[in-house]
Amino acid sequence: MENLIALLVAAPLLGAAVLLCGGRRLDRAGHWIGTLLAAASFVVGVVLFSAMLGYEAEARTMRQHLFSWIPVEGFQADIAFQLDQLSMTFVLLITGVGTLIHIYSIGYMEHDERRRRFFGYLNLFLAAMLLLVIADNYLLLYVGWEGVGLASYLLIGFWQHKPSAATAAKKAFLVNRVGDMGLSVAIMLMFTTFGTFAFGPVLSATGETSEGKLTAIGLMLLLAACGKSAQVPLQSWLGDAMEGPTPVSALIHAATMVTAGVYLIVRSGAIFDAAPDAQLAVVVVGAVTLLFGAIVGCAKDDIKKALAGSTMSQIGYMILAAGLGPIGYVFAIMHLVTHGFFKAGLFLGAGSVMHGMNDEVDMRKYGGLRKYMPVTFVTFGLGYLAIIGFPGLSGFFSKDKIIEAAFAKGGTEGWILGSVALLGAGITAFYMTRVMLMTFFGEKRWQPDAEGREPHPHESPKSMTIPMIVLAFGSVFAGGFFAIGDRFTHWLEPVTRYDHGHAPVSAATVTGATMVVLLAGAALAWAMYGRRPIPVVAPRGSLLTRAARRDLLQDDFNHVVLVRGGEHLTRSLVYVDHSLVDGVVNGTAASFGGLSGRLRKLQNGYARTYAVSMFGGTAVLIAATLLMRAV
């Protein structure tokens, strides 16, 4: 049974290889091959899951050792897999949601001539992501980590002929690389500290080293997580990443890739538990991003960017939860899974809307679509209710738990974090309601597109709606299924450990407060966008709105400090290299040239001059001989 683990990765990897190397012959069948192999991976995942359920709770970890990867004196890296409950959760989420998105893409990308390649990239992404979660050491995880970055680069920049897409892809990869730097430094630190970087030995030996070392490792891991999960200060790529086709946004930037950071932190829980300072940093990053994403989400008129802001914010919740330690790990993952369902659903819904609206993304040019796209409306609506935490739906259970856990952290810290989480829930309700109202309610504000075509909104084909329906089911029921009887907690506890903490307020109070905040947010949104007509051209807005539209000026900061500064630096270095470093070289050459030019004048061509020098030379030789003899 354990030998099947490698198949999880192998299937989509094979798909990617076949699709990308196969050439035009596979254009016809490419998408089916891709979908089939993604589904195969899902089936393997389910088989392994059922096998895992057959074991004792404490002995569910499965391992597979393929071969020794980099055997060097004192440095052993293996290609080996470890599938425990945490990994299993991810495997099912990734392959499940992944397969659905594959199916959805068949319809969505139908008219794209490069569809085969798209599926190849999707498969590559699945393979990398699966490698990331089933690796048994940090270095192999790093392979998956960068592989995910590569796949996301390829997918964001899929429409490469658009300069904006190409730039967004590059930006995503670069920002991710900054995070990757953190991960690689963390691995190096682990190597020098523990002599290994396999999960087992590292995580069990945290007690044997100093807290400072662990804090350093933790902070570096956090940097990595920030890059991949789009947390402040490395969040800037996520909004731009919406340049990719919508299924990509759904797959990568909602359900899977961005969750890798959460996985990393939860997986390295033992390190963070032993390094409170690092943990505090995690919590702070989570809390700040939570608000940051939410605020950005409120201001965006681009439906995908609004959802991207929301993603950032929700991942902020997860990171926050993960930073709480054993109180929060389980809920971080639980929110991650439920978020995977409803955010994928929301994105697919947004894609469906765009599909019917000539790829228009500006919500101000939507309106009243509920009559034209009933299925999309219903599934999107369910996702909406789930994300704002409507009682009974998935988001309610998972988010509520995180807010509780934040309060349970205790002390001033707990109060602050809890309040931030609570506030975040309110803003979530506001911006999601805004999206909902602007898209599906109100009067039509449709505009002809750049080529003058009037939009004819219509429901999307089956291949697109079915995945949306399935995800909507997940959005509605997953949370309840997990939360009732603490099923999810029991499932993950052997891996992540679980601690109740001491909540200063009762669970019911928290739920009540959440409800109040939530209603307030939704009501405010209705007051602003439901009651009055929405202008097609965005009003100027307050200072905060304008800043939020520009991602709270983060891009401007990056542009001025990093891009411009970098340009100046490289330009001046090019100058220095040319004129100083090379100048010294050329100067040496020139000085020799000049010297020989001078010396050449001695060679005036007159035999008598040469005779003088010969004569003088002879005299010197005689003198030397005499002197030598005298000495």
């Binding site: 005036n604 007159y606 008598r608 001059t609 003088v612 004569f615 003088g616 002879t618 005299a619 005689i622 003198a623 001989t625 005499l626 003899r629 005298a630």
Partner: protein, 274 residues
Amino acid sequence: MTGLAAAATTSTGEAVQFWILGTVAVIGALSTVLLKRAVHSALSLAGTMIILAVFYLANGAYFLGVVQVVVYTGAIMMLFLFVVMLVGVTAADSLKETLKGQRWLALGCGLGFGILLAAGIGSASLNNFNGLGAANAAHGGNVEGLANLIFTKYVFAFEITGALLITATVGAMVLTHRERTERAKTQREMSEERVRSSHLPPLPAPGVYARHNAVDIAGLLPDGTPSELTVMQTLRRRGQMRDVSNEALADLKALEQRSEARLGRDNDEEEVAK
């Protein structure tokens, strides 16, 4: 031959001869270097060489002394004179130095070199002279001794010098031989050329209207300017053509002046007589 026996000093006669002839030799050498005309230099050099021949004889190198006179002074120096004549006997070099600092450098190097040589010789402490008496006598004389060495010990060098001389002879012939690069003109062509050129009649002879009739003096045209055509090509090329046109005019003027003076004086005398 006592002077050639082993001794640290020579006979007084030889000493006297050395100091007198040595002085002359040095003067000759200096004149070779310093005199303007090549022919004078050659003659001075010949003198120096003859003195050297005497010194060879004084040093017991009888054969070399004779060879020096025959080969050097007789053959080589005459060759020099021939070439000097070919190039122009009367042509005097300008002694003005054209290369900057060359003369000072030469002087400096020469002085330094001389001093160094002298110092070298001086420091060698050469006081013991074996003399050539025994060596000359060993084979029955100087010439026999030399012959013995040349045809035994130095026979290869001797053979090679022979080859060298042959090569030199051939080389000299090759170098001075003028390769004809074009077909020789036939008489007909030459006459046609002559007709086409501006000088159909014979070229004018030198010295016309001049007081000299030497070949190097251009004849004067009626207006008093010299005509180059009247001087042979070689002299023209060498730049040895003498221009006497101004001289003739000046002479004429002087003549007139003198006759004027004379006439004037006659007048004066007449006046005095009156």
